[in-house]
Every structure is written in structure tokens, then in C-alpha cells.
């Protein structure tokens, strides 16, 4: 779970870490007031859950309060399309207004889970405000990485290794060491997966300021961090995504026209892959998961067949924990409720498959029953009407 920049900065502030002076605005009227209070120039930062905002026009410098207001009028409500958002982009609903910093030097500071080495890592770079992956390819000599584990935390000597690597003046080293230990302690305590301060700015007045911050928390641990789960912001999600979440369905919108309803993430991906393999285009990823209820299946099926883009749909179930009859009942109930105006292919195997198929047949609804995975995929692609 990512949180918005302004939320992450509030957290840093509470940890005693310096952030730029700034306020959150939800309307152009607020913008002008804030700019007058802060003094000029000011920076407007669109609050969306995506990187690459700068290139997409989501970060703007305003010399005067009036300029800020007019820039903000354009920005509010705009769909920003960044390298990470996909074609639909994300709508700007909030803008963080900050006093511009007098930047003397920019660094990068990141903490992350290192899957490969099964530990935590801290990474600093002598250049900041950059794409760190890019820099690590081009100028690895500017980057230093250390590993630490959650039981031990970051040792003082490790923080010193990182701090001295940045080649800042001696009087900033202690500040940096305590910043690093502070952030790594927070990372472990609150179960983060990623924390980036990029750039960490050294100002002309010799302050270390976190100019931009990215924080990603571990969804699996939100239950034990009520303070963090309260920061969840779903305003970027589509309506279907929100509905799906309410029923604990794992739904993701794609660009195609063939709806998919599958149990298990691996099988769901394979289902999308095989549809592509036969020239179709999946409209979505939808994993109903193992502990699904009949009601949730009903809702999942509704999301599929109510999607105007969808021209045909595939239900692909391999019963294990999930029982085929439960899925069949959910699908039939929904189809009876909303009508079945699009061709739907159903393929079922595994636990209670016979009961499931019986329910589908006895419903009298025109489901296309497929015998195996390949037949099902071929059929739904041919029924989609957009076969290559």
C-alpha cells in the first residue's frame, strides 16, 4: 500500500525529520491563500499515487500566488498520465503546496526489502532527484548499499558508512546518521516495503530536508498498524476496483475485451496468457481467491458482464479450496438477476465439478461449457468477435 506524499511527509515530521514548509490544498481558492502565507516562489505538487509526476506536468513552480492559482485551476481534476499509471492516468484531487527550497545539493536515500538476499537494504546516492534504477546502471560508483536485518536494525557503524559516503560536511554527518537510524527503525516497526527520500536536499542554509518521500507499507501487516491503515486512499481506483475490493476480489482492469473470472493468481495469469496466445485481449485480471463466498462470485460476475467493453467472458475454475458448485451458483444467480446478453464460456474442474456443471445446465441459461482449458480459451476468443 502506497500513501500520498503529503501523508508520508506528515509522518517524517512526526519523526523529527525536516520537510519543506507546506500545506495541502483541495481547491484553487486554498492555493492562493497558502501561497500568500508561505511566500513565493512555491511548488505545486499533484498528489497522486505514482512516480514520474514531474515529466507528466504534475509538479509546477509558481513565482506568484496568482500564477499558482491559475496553474492549480488547470491541475485540479486533470488526469495525469505518467510512465507508471497506464493510459487512463490518475485524477488530481489534492495539491501539496510547498515553499521552494534553496537547493545546494541533492542526494537519494532509500530503504527496501531485498527479496533476493532476504534482508533489508539501505541505499544512498550522491545524486538525488533521479531514477535510482537508471543511476545504478549508469553511475554505480555514486551509490552505496548496506544490508541489515529486522532483528538487529541498522547498526550505528552502518549509518556512518552511508553518511560518510555522501561526502557532506562533517557537521551534517551526525544529523544524517540519526536520520538513517530513525528511518530504518520506523521501517521495521511499521512494516514498510519501501521508503524513498528522493531528493534529500541540502539547502543553502545547511539544512537536510526531505523534499520528496515515497512510502509503501506491507498490506499483510496493516491489521497491526491502525495508524497506517487509516491512511488508505482509494480515490484513484475505478468503480469496479472499489466494488471488487469490498468483496475481497483481486481485480485489475486491463485494456482488452474478454472478461475473465478465475480462481488463483497463477491460473488467472495463465488464463490471460492463453487468451493472448489465441489472439484475444483480456479485459481484466480477476482472481476470486480461495475463501470466496457465493455472494462475492455473484458480484465478480456482475463486474465482468456489466463492463461495456467486454464482448465475451470466460469463467475458469480449478476447484481446490474453492468448490465448483459454489461458483456455479454465484454465476447463475447473477446471470438470472441481470440477464445474460453476452456469450459466456465456463470451464470447471476439481472439487465438486459434477455438482457445478449440473447447476449450470439446469439453469437453462446459454452458457458455453468447455471441456478443457484450451477449448475454453479458443472458444471465448472466437466469441469475442475481435479475433486477430
Amino acid at each position: 500500500m502506497l500513501i500520498q506524499e503529503y501523508q508520508a511527509k506528515r509522518i517524517l515530521k512526526a519523526l523529527g525529520i525536516q520537510t519543506p514548509e507546506g500545506y495541502l490544498a483541495e481547491s484553487p481558492e486554498q492555493i492562493i491563500k497558502i501561497c500568500k502565507a508561505l511566500g513565493s516562489p512555491a511548488v505545486l505538487k499533484a498528489q497522486i499515487l505514482s512516480g514520474g509526476r514531474g515529466q507528466a506536468g504534475g509538479i509546477l513552480l509558481a513565482r506568484e500566488p496568482e500564477e499558482a492559482e491559475s496553474l492549480a485551476r488547470n491541475l485540479f481534476g486533470k488526469r495525469l498520465i505518467t510512465s507508471q499509471t497506464g493510459n487512463r492516468g490518475l485524477v488530481v484531487r489534492k495539491i501539496l503546496v510547498e515553499k521552494a527550497l534553496n537547493i545546494k545539493k541533492e542526494c537519494y536515500l532509500g530503504l527496501a526489502v531485498d527479496r533476493e538476499h532476504e534482508t533489508l537494504l539501505a541505499l544512498v546516492s550522491r545524486e538525488g532527484g533521479i531514477q535510482i534504477e537508471e543511476l545504478s546502471r549508469q553511475k554505480p560508483e555514486l551509490i552505496k548499499i548496506i544490508s541489515f536485518n529486522p532483528d538487529e536494525g541498522m547498526r550505528p557503524f552502518q549509518a556512518r558508512q552511508l553518511a560518510y559516503f555522501l561526502e557532506l560536511e562533517e557537521d551534517l554527518i551526525k544529523q544524517l546518521v540519526s536520520l538513517l537510524r530513525n528511518l530504518s527503525g520506523f521501517f521495521i516497526e511499521k512494516d514498510l516495503k519501501l521508503l524513498e527520500v528522493n531528493p534529500l536536499v541540502l539547502t543553502e542554509s545547511r539544512l537536510l530536508v526531505a523534499a520528496d518521500v515515497k512510502m509503501e507499507f506491507d498490506d499483510c501487516s496493516l491489521e497491526r498498524h491502525q495508524d497506517i491503515s487509516g491512511l488508505l486512499d482509494f480515490s484513484d481506483d475505478s468503480e469496479e476496483e472499489m466494488e471488487a475490493r469490498n468483496f475481497k476480489l483481486n481485480y485489475l482492469r486491463m485494456e482488452g475485451n474478454i472478461g475473465c473470472l478465475v480462481n488463483g493468481a497463477g491460473l488467472a495469469m495463465a488464463t490471460m496468457d492463453i487468451i493472448s496466445h489465441f489472439g484475444g485481449q483480456p479485459a481484466n485480471f480477476l482472481d476470486i481467491g480461495g475463501g470466496v463466498t457465493e455472494e462475492a462470485v455473484n458480484k465478480a460476475f456482475e463486474i465482468l458482464i456489466s463492463d461495456d467493453r467486454v464482448t465475451s467472458a470466460l469463467v475458469n475454475i480449478f476447484g481446490g479450496i474453492v468448490r465448483c458448485d459454489l461458483v456455479a451458483r454465484g454465476v447463475v444467480n447473477c446471470a438470472e438477476r441481470l440477464g445474460l446478453k453476452k456469450p459466456v464460456v465456463v470451464r470447471m474442474e476439481g472439487t465438486n465439478v459434477i455438482e457445478g456443471q449440473k447447476i449450470l445446465k439446469e439453469s437453462g441459461l446459454p452458457f458455453h461449457l468447455a471441456d478443457d482449458f484450451e477449448q475454453a480459451a479458443r472458444l471465448v476468443v472466437s466469441l469475442s468477435g475481435r479475433e486477430k
Binding site: 532483528d151 498490506d219 501487516s221 485489475l252 493468481a265 497463477g266 495469469m269 482449458f373 480459451a377
Partner: protein, 291 residues
């Protein structure tokens, strides 16, 4: 033969009195798995499904000498349950639990390094050696004994692959789910090493998916040695959009690394036969076995 679990392997169930654990323990017993005891703190001394229940793994270990423990506890207790099993000297730990926080798993893995215990999972369907022992939640009836070893990061997709094999009359030696989480226990390379020595296994299927570097590591391992058995692989997620999570915490594409394309390229270079149509896993494997 087979790897990891055999007909006589003594199995412990951690969290046995829970709803899911009860259901799946019954299925395991029906399958013929030798379940010998269960653990649920606070239920020690009771009997459940005809099995003695203990408060701690340590107590269960000294009373019933289980060799393998299968874990069905809630996510927040998962890492502690893994460490408890390892501390009690259980040699193989199969963690079914899904949703264990990543940092908990880092702690558990660091703990495991100091022991001789091996972990499968978490978020795995488990292990099955068809006809001998089923330690997990997979539907037992779709499996038949035979020459194919499977190692997979995915649950239902493995069932699909096994189903295809069985329909074609091709049986399985052992099918292992390594789990869908970003931090997990044994991975492809370690299990390939075990299958290498297994006389029953004549061919192997790897089922990968986007995210992480488990497939790339497997390719690295295979490039170093001359593996004596044919290996096929299918990697799910060719169509997945980058940067988005698709159910498994592991299934996040990190830059260009971790894409399905990257993984299949690596495996191909290591001499693995890539299956591009997931509906043909059975057929392609059968063809390899006949040649």
C-alpha cells in the same frame, strides 16, 4: 521414491483445530497421509480427528516424533509457528498460511539459517507424492503416481498442470508448491537438486510466474551443472501489466527484471524447454517422456 514426503513420513499439523486445518487434515487422512499429531496452544491434551493435540510443537515432537510439520495458523502467527517448528527440530516445515507480513518472514528466515530445518512456503498448496502422502491442500484425486516432478509458484495452475498430465496417463513423482510470497523457503534450485537424485523422477516441470528472481536463479543453477533429466517450464504473466500486483505479493514486476520474458529467456538459455501455451503442459511433457 519421491522427494520430501514418503508414505511413512510422520506429519504434524500446527493450528490443527482451526476450521481450514480441520477440513484439510481430514482430506490428508483420507488420502492416507500419516498424520500423527496436532498443535493448538490452549487445546493441549484434547483429541481432534482422532489425533492427540499439544500446546507446543516441542511437546508434540517428544511425544509423537513427527518429521514434517504443516502450518495452518493465522497470518500474524505464521512466522512464529515456523520458528517454533524449527526450534523443536522439525526437519521440514510446510507453511500453508497466506498473508504473513514480509518483515516477519525475514525474521523467520534468519532464524531458520541457524537450524537444520527446511521450509516450503508460505502461501503454498503444499507437497504431494501421489499414492503415498499428501501434505497440503491440493485436491488429491487429480494426481496419479508416475515419473514427472513438478515445482511451482502457483496453486491452481499446478492443479491444472497435474490434471493435464493425469488425463494423458502421465503420473507424478512429487509436486511441490514453493509458494507465491516474495520471501519463501526452498526454491527451484534446491528442489531441482533433490529431484536430480530421485530415481522415480524422469522429467521435471517448473511453473513460474512474474516477479522476483526465483526462475532466474534456477536458470543460473542449471547453467552450472549438467542436469541429467529433461526440464520443461511455463511462466505465467506474459500479459501482466508492469508495476501492478496480481494477487501474489511476489507477482510484481520490478523494472525489466522479473518479467515473464526475462524469465523464459534465462531458462531457455539454461536448456529448459519453454511451454508457451499453458493448456499444453501435459502434452509437451508426454512428448518429452516418449522421446
Amino acid at each position: 521414491m519421491s522427494i520430501l514426503v514418503k508414505a511413512k513420513t510422520r506429519i504434524l499439523v500446527q493450528g490443527i483445530t482451526g476450521k481450514e486445518a480441520t477440513f484439510h487434515t481430514q482430506r490428508m487422512q483420507e488420502y492416507g497421509t500419516r498424520v500423527v499429531a496436532g498443535v493448538t496452544p490452549g487445546k493441549g491434551g484434547q483429541s481432534h480427528l482422532g489425533l492427540p493435540v499439544f500446546n507446543t510443537v516441542e511437546q508434540a515432537r517428544s511425544a509423537e516424533a513427527p518429521e514434517v510439520s504443516v502450518i495452518f495458523v493465522p497470518p500474524r502467527a505464521g512466522a512464529d509457528a515456523i520458528m517454533e517448528a524449527a526450534d523443536a527440530g522439525i526437519k521440514l516445515i510446510v507453511c500453508i498460511t497466506e498473508g504473513i507480513p514480509v518483515i516477519d518472514m525475514l525474521r523467520a528466515k534468519a532464524f531458520l539459517k541457524k537450524t537444520n530445518s527446511k521450509l516450503i512456503g508460505p502461501n503454498t498448496p503444499g507437497i504431494i507424492s501421489p499414492g503415498k502422502s499428501k501434505v497440503g491442500i491440493m485436491p488429491g484425486h487429480i494426481h496419479i503416481p508416475g515419473p514427472v516432478g513438478l515445482i511451482s509458484r502457483s496453486g491452481t495452475l499446478t492443479y491444472e498442470a497435474v490434471h493435464q498430465l493425469t488425463k494423458l496417463g502421465v503420473g507424478q513423482s512429487t509436486a511441490v508448491g514453493i509458494g507465491g510470497d516474495s520471501i519463501c523457503g526452498l526454491k527451484f534450485a534446491e528442489l531441482l537438486e533433490m529431484f536430480r537424485e530421485d530415481l522415480q523422477t524422469k522429467a521435471l516441470i517448473l511453473i513460474g510466474e512474474i516477479g522476483g528472481t526465483a526462475e532466474e536463479e534456477a536458470a543460473g543453477y542449471l547453467k552450472q551443472i549438467s542436469y541429467p533429466k529433461p526440464i520443461l517450464a511455463y511462466v505465467a504473466g506474459v500479459t501482466a501489466p508492469p508495476g501492478k500486483r496480481l494477487g501474489h505479493a511476489g507477482a510484481i514486476i520490478e523494472g525489466s527484471r522479473g518479467t515473464a520474458q526475462d524469465k523464459t529467456n534465462c531458462l531457455k538459455e539454461a536448456g529448459v524447454r519453454i511451454i508457451s501455451n499453458p493448456a499444453r503442459i501435459g502434452q509437451e511433457t508426454k512428448a518429452i517422456l516418449i522421446n
